[in-house]
Amino acid sequence: MELSDWLVIPEILPLMLSGLKVTVVITFFSVLTGLVIGTIVGLARLSDNRFLCGLTTAYVEIIRGTPLMVQLFLIYYALPEIGIHLPPMIAGWVAYSINSGAYVSEVVRGGIQSIDSGQMEAARSLGMSWWQGMRYVVLPQAFRNIMPPLGNEFIMLLKDSSLMAVIAVPEVMRYANLMVGRKGGYALPIYVTAGLLYLALTLPLSLVVRRAERGLAKGD
């Protein structure tokens, strides 16, 4: 390997940056749907309805107990065998939403349980419905408490999105692999570039998370 090998970086950078755009977009949408799924599942797991509770508990245990890679392959390679064909981006988005939903639901559940039951009782005693109490009183407090763990979950998701390269989603890792193959080498500068691109996103994010944690610790 020679020092001049690093000059490949400016050459590959435009493609890698377009891959980064896909990484950000797909993570963003997965996070969004994951949050929706996670909140609904988190609430369902706390419900008195045994069927709902059992169903969602099974979902969480299955997703957390199996590798993301398996889930991804099932959705992209196995679903077509029963007639469901999803393009790579959509398959990736579906898999990551389902996966993230399970982890987020645990965070949401913990956040809700950390709120004193007197809060819901006060809301109910004022004539609010269970859902109004959740929406206006419990969830706002719970979400404030779970911002840091949610932030960490999103950082994990951002990094894990690199797995989507194996189902040909045109994100950072996919382009890195393509470049290495096309140029027959340059693995070191290309993968270092890929790593740095992820770092450029995750470092500021974890800084924000740490700041949120400190804000909470101060109790304001």
Binding site: D116, S125, L126, G127, V137, P140
Partner: protein
Amino acid sequence: MIELKNVHKHFGQLHVLKGITSTVDQGEVVVIIGPSGSGKSTLLRCINYLEEPTKGEIIIDGIKLNHSATNINRVRQEVGMVFQSFNLFPHMTVMDNITLAPKKVRGLAPSKAEDIAQELLAKVGLSDKAEAYPRQLSGGQQQRVAIARALAVQPKVMLFDEPTSALDPEMIGEVLDVMKNLAEDGMTMVVVSHEMGFAREVGTRVLFMDEGKIVEEGKPEEVFFNPKNERTQAFLGKIL
């Protein structure tokens, strides 16, 4: 206003209320006393259905309580509750604490709800605290806000669950004064409390509960100074 007919409550094996029958008329201030574990708080919580009675009937202002959601939410608007631990919403200002339910439950316009809140804050002596957050207030101030919050839905009955027992002694008076004013305005009140001064001055009736039953009831002077039941005598002997 409140009718209790043979109300029972079990928590698993524990039989907490063993057939409570009583009536509270409009404008009455009923003070419930009794040792801890006697079921006082559970009875109060049954009256607004925070606990569902295992057996028996509760009728509030002519509406029989059952567990349909519409019924409960409607009845709860008529029954305000003040808790021992205040339970203010910490993420909201005093103003938002008070106006939330009127806006969401009664469907009042924000400006109308704020007018009512200002009036109530003046009544509890906290007009200058509308924009404060609960954590910036003392315990006594928080409890007065909690009373204003419960009043904002314009209930016909107010329940107080040991409203002063989490307070420092010097703050008890300010909360009791607010409750006294409320009683003088004609509010129907049920109060679980051991504040004898309050019971004698404001209470129209005292109920003594022990082991899930109403053991003795009567005018405050009678129950406090001339108790007939020996369990009442023993209990009063300890707290007087």
